[in-house]
Symmetry: C2
């Protein structure tokens, strides 16, 4: 579990770093970015994992969200993994919504994806171990993400309430088994039986959830072109209401699907998670 | 002077837009980005022009600096021009520090650059007219920039104290006629006579400045690889001290030349300019 440092920059008094490591889960070399706030020099801190959307790497959020300013105030470590396995030897597809850059945070069971596309285990097992073993964390973590990464954050937290104290998302795919992006990915990665898709669908998971509820915050821009067909956050909100689940959905007037939207509200998300990680 | 809108995003309650227009000064089509804060809906506002560094376009600062958060609080319009004329028909060079992406904010007198490389006039005449005619500004502006753009900001303000209320820079090239980046660019754009270079050199300009002083703020990272050979901000600070000029140079411990450095201190720069633009 050794790390190779690729980059290091001082940012808001803390350190913005990028590492590569050999992933045993994904059978390839992976990059991740990490922000260590100024408080890290003197104390163990909680971690917020950020899962990015389709086509992204670990660098989109790192360079565009402006989150370091708020993580530095709140004393949060931020960890930004990549969105899929990567490399010339790794299965891929020409489409932007399948293959590299589009891992969907699932464990693939179908060929040619099975060998490398094990992002569910990578994020929830290997990466947490890697971070906890190499950085001075306090053992607490929450999870957030955007679009495909919003799906990943909600779904992982619903599957692993033992791991994550809170979950939040920007414009998440909440019901992937019912929308084109999710159906395409799940058919390729998980096969044609929709039953196999349900354990990666946040709407299904919330409906059947049995453990103690944890808080969820969702922001959705009303000018987001993907909202009507791909996102539909109201579907998750409806289930949450029926189950008295602590879910807040905020419809943000005029905002779109871009990082300008994320940057505008990331301070709220970090403050939200900080409450539960303290 | 008509504008074509290329992009529009809501950002921190305001609008982040990108336009193209036909530049009469540069004889080509140019893009610029502009941030209109929420206060813009109800009042005329001052403008901060941001000049970027080598290899950048109007988009680097726009997507990476996180400045919109603070411009939205302070009620500042931000305008981000490109760093040179652009296009297949425009003179260029394979090097990153000459030609497209490396306009150095001068008016070229040499071939093949003269026809298009008139960035000094573009920024200080055409762009200000374009912005004031198409947006509800209050007629006041200041100027800031990074590296080559820090040179541009300081030099333009020293040449045009009639136009700019204040100037600030991150890691500026303050003495371009004495350092490799500036000497190479000036030799190509302005010819071999170093006398022709002086009117674009902030150290020379500050030494010979006769009008009313205006405030200057400079941030320089101490881990910036370019500091010793290319930047040397102490040279400008020394002249300022001799002339009792209101210049503040802050050496920021451990910061490098990247946008992580800019993002960490851009709030201070916007607040600095706001004082003089109110």
């Amino acid at each position: 579990m050794s790390l190779t440092e690729l980059e290091s920059h001082i940012s808001f008094g803390g350190e913005q770093k990028r590492f590569k490591h050999a992933s045993l889960t994904l059978n390839c070399e992976m990059n991740f970015s990490i922000y260590l706030p100024p408080q890290y020099k003197t104390q163990a801190l909680p971690v917020l994992y950020w899962l990015s959307g389709l086509t992204c790497t670990d660098e989109n959020f790192t360079t565009k969200a402006g989150a370091q300013a708020y993580a530095a105030e709140l004393g949060l470590i931020l960890v930004m993994p990549d969105t899929s396995p990567r490399g010339e030897q790794i299965a891929n597809d020409d489409a932007y919504d399948l293959g590299q850059g589009a891992g969907f945070y699932i464990n693939a069971t179908e060929q040619p994806w099975q060998k490398n596309y094990q992002m569910f285990d990578y994020i929830s097992v290997e990466l947490i171990d890697l971070i906890d073993n190499n950085f001075n964390t306090n053992g607490k973590q929450s999870i957030a993400g955007h679009s495909m990464g919003g799906h990943g954050a909600l779904m992982l937290a619903l599957r692993h309430p033992d791991l994550y104290y809170s979950a939040s998302a920007f414009a998440p795919i909440v019901n992937p088994s019912q929308v084109p992006w999710g159906q395409k990915a799940f058919r390729h990665y998980l096969g044609n039986d929709p039953q196999a898709w349900q354990t990666y669908d946040s709407c299904f998971l919330l409906e059947h959830y049995q453990a103690e509820p944890f808080p969820i915050l969702i922001d959705q821009g009303t000018a987001d072109n993907f909202m009507p067909e791909q996102l539909q956050p109201e579907a998750l909100e409806k289930i949450a209401k029926n189950r008295n689940w602590p879910l807040t959905l905020r419809l943000q007037q005029g905002y779109d699907h871009s990082y300008y939207f994320i940057a505008s509200f990331i301070e709220n998300h970090l403050a939200f998670h900080k409450q539960y990680l303290s």
